[in-house]
Symmetry: C2
Subunit: 151 residues, 2 copies
DNA sequence: AACCTTTTGATTGCACACAATTAAATTTTC
DNA sequence: GAAAATTTAATTGTGTGCAATCAAAAGGTT
């Protein structure tokens, strides 16, 4: 009896068993939850992430923002231009390296920080887990992110 | 001495401490990893998710696909039209309810299943965690998803 | 039957998200 | 110092992703 040249492979895992789909779905659900909390500020979730960084660092290059957010200029440039139009930040070339674009928070952008103070707390309620669980889960995701970044 | 009407609030959590950002970043990294594995099939990750469902169920309405993938018709309609153009599936109105659109897998779409067999294994290597960890993490994400869906 | 409500997809408009390419400026190499 | 390689953003094109709106069809009510 000849060996089977095409042995049956195990069936593809069902969608509802897949970790990757869960991460994908959860990410979109979280973004949607943020959108509700952020609509008072009239910012999107990716824009809020940019603001979080600028509130902390005052000024960052597009490159630095991209490194921290894992987003490239194809995403960031139009997003930052929209935020510039609203007067939240400024975009200018670096004097010492004309290739770099420096993003600086403006007073109007700084003013949003106060309004945003309650968001983390509200969101944790939205998601419905304890701070301990948040921390635990966060720790577990880090190695996956690290592993995928270096590819 | 009067009580302070505006006590200082705790600082906003740093980006690299936020679970939500980790989920968001991980989701995009996973999609990118899938894209590499899927480029031989010339499908995107969301299209692959549709195929996974059609390989299992043969035919589903747009509504049913949307329920399973947590995507609405604004996303699915153009995506399914692209897949129809490539001959992977058909779109037709249900006879008993002209509002419903039934998506049916075609032979060309079915043929992709064989080529996709190795993807789950390859991806688990890509992510770099054990099956036990995958299962564990997956279990932890379910309550968050359930909690956010019912909002 | 005529009306009302609900369900279902499609459509529209806007905002990411990223691969690939281009262009400009800097750094390295010789 | 000139040439080559690298770095950095911008641009372009394609594909999601979703809120809001529209239109058609089904089901229910009187």
């Amino acid at each position: 009896m000849p060996t089977n040249a095409f042995p049956p492979l195990p069936p593809l895992p069902r969608l509802d068993n897949q970790l990757c789909f869960s991460v994908y779905a959860l990410s979109r659900l979280i973004t949607k939850a943020y959108q509700k909390l952020l609509e008072g500020l009239d910012v999107t979730y990716p824009q809020y992430l940019v603001l979080l960084l600028l509130w902390e660092h005052e000024a960052l290059t597009v490159k630095a923002l991209g490194n921290k957010l894992l987003l490239d200029s194809g995403t960031l440039t139009p997003l930052l231009k929209r935020m510039e139009q609203r007067g939240w930040l400024s975009r200018r070339r670096a004097a010492h390296d004309e290739r770099s674009v420096i993003i600086t928070i403006l007073p109007a952008g700084r003013a949003l920080e106060l309004q945003a103070r309650e968001i983390p707390l509200k969101l944790s309620v939205c998601i419905g887990i304890t701070p301990a669980q948040v921390s635990d889960l966060h720790q577990q995701l880090q190695p996956l992110i690290k592993h995928l970044i270096t590819k």
